[in-house]
Symmetry: C3
Subunit: 443 residues, 3 copies
Amino acid sequence: MMLDRVFKAEGNEGGSLVQPLDMMTLLRTLFPLPRSLTGDGVRATLQALRQHISVEIHEVATGTEVFDWEVPREWNIRAATIKAKDGRVLVDFADNNLHVVGYSVPVRGTFSLMELAAHVHTLPDQPDAIPYRTSYYAPNWGFCLPHSLWTAMQDEAYEVEIDSALVDGSLTYGEFFIPGDTEQEILISVHVCHPSLANDNLSGIVVATALARYFLAQPARRFGLRLLFLPATIGAITWLATNEARLDRIVHGLVLTCAGDDGPFHYKKTVNGAVVDLAAEHVLRHSGHAYQMLEFSPYGYDERQYGSPGIALPVGCLMRAIHGTFPEYHTSLDNCDFVTPQALDQSFRLLVDLLVTLQRNAIYCRVDGRGEPQLGRRGLYRAIAGQKEAGGASQMDLLWVLNQCDGSRSLLDIAERAGVPFSRIRAAADLCLDAELIREVRQ
Amino acid sequence: MMLDRVFKAEGNEGGSLVQPLDMMTLLRTLFPLPRSLTGDGVRATLQALRQHISVEIHEVATGTEVFDWEVPREWNIRAATIKAKDGRVLVDFADNNLHVVGYSVPVRGTFSLMELAAHVHTLPDQPDAIPYRTSYYAPNWGFCLPHSLWTAMQDEAYEVEIDSALVDGSLTYGEFFIPGDTEQEILISVHVCHPSLANDNLSGIVVATALARYFLAQPARRFGLRLLFLPATIGAITWLATNEARLDRIVHGLVLTCAGDDGPFHYKKTVNGAVVDLAAEHVLRHSGHAYQMLEFSPYGYDERQYGSPGIALPVGCLMRAIHGTFPEYHTSLDNCDFVTPQALDQSFRLLVDLLVTLQRNAIYCRVDGRGEPQLGRRGLYRAIAGQKEAGGASQMDLLWVLNQCDGSRSLLDIAERAGVPFSRIRAAADLCLDAELIREVRQ
Amino acid sequence: MMLDRVFKAEGNEGGSLVQPLDMMTLLRTLFPLPRSLTGDGVRATLQALRQHISVEIHEVATGTEVFDWEVPREWNIRAATIKAKDGRVLVDFADNNLHVVGYSVPVRGTFSLMELAAHVHTLPDQPDAIPYRTSYYAPNWGFCLPHSLWTAMQDEAYEVEIDSALVDGSLTYGEFFIPGDTEQEILISVHVCHPSLANDNLSGIVVATALARYFLAQPARRFGLRLLFLPATIGAITWLATNEARLDRIVHGLVLTCAGDDGPFHYKKTVNGAVVDLAAEHVLRHSGHAYQMLEFSPYGYDERQYGSPGIALPVGCLMRAIHGTFPEYHTSLDNCDFVTPQALDQSFRLLVDLLVTLQRNAIYCRVDGRGEPQLGRRGLYRAIAGQKEAGGASQMDLLWVLNQCDGSRSLLDIAERAGVPFSRIRAAADLCLDAELIREVRQ
């Protein structure tokens, strides 16, 4: 019974939540680290997170078979420049790690403008932005630069150097687990393979870290909370392959990305429908924020892997801006100015609300469901009156719980039917538990 | 097979139904009786009904345990007045039994205006109306009076007397049963605890009585018809507790209230969905009256008790005006002028229609469903042609029945799919029964 | 595995389909033949079809019991005229076989204008059109003529002759079957009992014949394709009665009628819902043609018999104009000018699309569904890129198939969820089959 109460003191209606982490400062710290699918940039990122939560860092060797894939070679880069013949440095990886195509093989030499052109990526429609490009599985090299700079480069030849290494090594990912009172878990997955891109997905990384700090501070919880900090696709596949026997512990899950822009929220539903979809829509509807529910599609983030046919975990995806649809997406404009502390804070609070809803949702039945109980002699009318003044459960909430708890409906189902926030039905259920009018039905 | 025909001669399309009872006269007779949760007012009401139907009067002793409750003490009141010091009677229970708060404890003495104020209830927004107030479970006393009278009372002190008794006795309720050809029953429940309030719920009482008279005059019926005349909440709980072993006989049910005002009909659905919901919507849609379907909520009338988790009977609620939403509600304005004979008659006819629909709904299957039968050699084309001229079943109705009777759909389902009134599909099914083209599937 | 490929080369997006039959010429050939419920007109029609497909002609003797019916007597007519007293032929069956009421008994004699009037049918609202009338089951005779002609007939008496015979004989119907690789079949049913009416239903007959020619030219198919050319009602009942033991082979079916007018398409759903309904709506939605889905009703064509309770085959009805709702319906205006080659061609292409969709729809599951497969090393990205340029399957189609093939969903279900034409998902599935990423789940 105590399990049902651990979040009771917290409330989940925002207003007084103290952020356990300065998310914006952490985001700025992580921004310049040269992340990629593998390599020291990912390691440095995870080490930085360890200032806040004790992330476990896993290394999986190149060549390891993971389902249909193999862990790729590890890529690291020390420096990269394009210099004019007079020695002026025109493009420098040290300025912005988007300048080099991810997984570029080493190169050094003099290239004609025509030769260089085959290795240069720009955005003619956004002439001052650097694009983000990778070539993970085809050996190649390239530079990304503002179109305005490229059109000004009229010399016949340039000195080019990419001091990178693509060698057997390992794939690195982070994992952090807060145990619950049951063996069941909620999964939060964020990708850590993008270099200097703030919204996609440093925002997801810092909000996930803040959530971990927040729930660590709670005395207990029903479900364990598992956070994964992974390179996209191959990272999720690697984790799934190495944890396949334990996947049935995951009862709810979320991929978290683009949590830092000021746009409306978007929740993309799980592939087969799940309670997390219902909970997300419920929390969003009562949040006061603009939002849109998106149907599942097989393109996007790692919900594709978690929702693949043989895995079929109930993992949705929460985001604000949608990949590919905002001008800053995968360009140098997705920088620390594009992300706001207010947006990160809203995302954090919304996720606390959603996770508390998932943690505290349960199915009850009336101990004696034959008619309404006499509330007066149990002091429940008084309790209600008092709580009503405090904005808590009203008499209707109590009647909803007493009428609907028949062992078939969860509190979230009841909140949806009653049209009120989950927290109110939860509070009413707590009163009924105290009065021994309902008991939990374990499924 | 005969069971299927008992209502055949009746039709349920209104127009020629003779009312078996002068509902308005009965309502006026019942109006002044001092009803409350218990006591002689309820007994007098049930005795008055016995002029029309032989209601069985049950007495359940104070202190009897009924589920989570106990039957309360019995309350009776002989007289109550507020007098000016000069002896003028300002407020007299004999004028209107709303003047005294229900379950007021006895009191006699001189009270200052200030002291009296703590025991006076008025409606400042409706200065000429007397409110209806009770204090069933907290010992108290009080008077209800028009705000206009109260503001005119400027004397320093008043003589107050409530000659009431709150003692061990019994709770009284009435029950009337018309047997059917099966053990299954339809339940109609009305509350009898409100004093001089005409729409809420003398209208329900008189319409229920008229329905009983009407169906008594029919030769037979599939389901028994059980009418309950109960004090709200504690009465329903008492009946449920004392009839628990037989509740599975109830296959359809209705709480009936506020049946006498001129407003649109409202049907509040059962807690878990039931055939009565479908039938009510069907009958209302084809009635020509304005109506609205209401979702279930756990506040209202005794559908709360019938629909509580451990009981879960399929009991909806039919009403015209909705409790709490019309100005006359729970005031002296809900008097005999607020109720009209036309409205009572419409409610009665609609309920006859609904009850006939529930009684005559059944599931059939084609005796030989392989293709359409040859109707011509059975004279069914002739029969159809004849009936069509009389406004009865058309050829399409017959085709619907012959095509849809596959043992899975009821006639009501077929009427809904065909988009025609139940009575037409029923008539077509009767022709098919006569021709031995369909047979009933007992479930 | 080969079964899945047989339609692969075909595509079903129209544009380059060569019609295997000059439908308009066949329709003009069939138009004057004196079809009726039975008789030589039906035989001549089926013989004419045998110029194109080897229709098997069945004869079922008068008096044969078929379910609730008996095969009627056979009707043939050699000639019929109304002559003026001066010998002028005013009405001649040789001019239009609608002139005589179907199943008219023989008659010869002089009739006064008044006597003749009882046997004359006209359309006052369409004074130049000849109506179509029959009297199959009541012995009678009659003439159908333009109202303008009838009002001009002012002589006192006329010479009337109908040289017909109504004798024991047989009911004639045609059947044509193209075997499939399984025992399961798709049924196409058209009625052949209407005399000189072009849209209703020579259009259905010629489109069905063209479909047979088209699918005969294909190397293989999953389901057999069975075409029935039947007199309406009694023909369908006769076929069902004589094939009852084999009906469970029918997995999809269509009644085809009114396929030659220029109006929008209408698809009337099967009585209990079926895959053919989903497929028809899918194909219509992606066809670019105007269309409307109609709910099942028990009036119409032989879908009534196929969908009767004890038969319950999944047979819908595809038509353009709806019986009874267009002015040419059942009049001499439903002639060869009312039908256009363009409309017949559209209907033919749409039905090819629908039948290919039904044939090639199947359920697959991922061979290893744990995560997305690595497409690059299988050349699937290249394959996709190439196909995309050719307008074929895009990368999204491939991702949909790889994500959704979990053994529970058909390719049609996936196409509906993805919002793309079936042919694209089918093409993506073929790529996945080639790469051994999915395998079929037989049900």
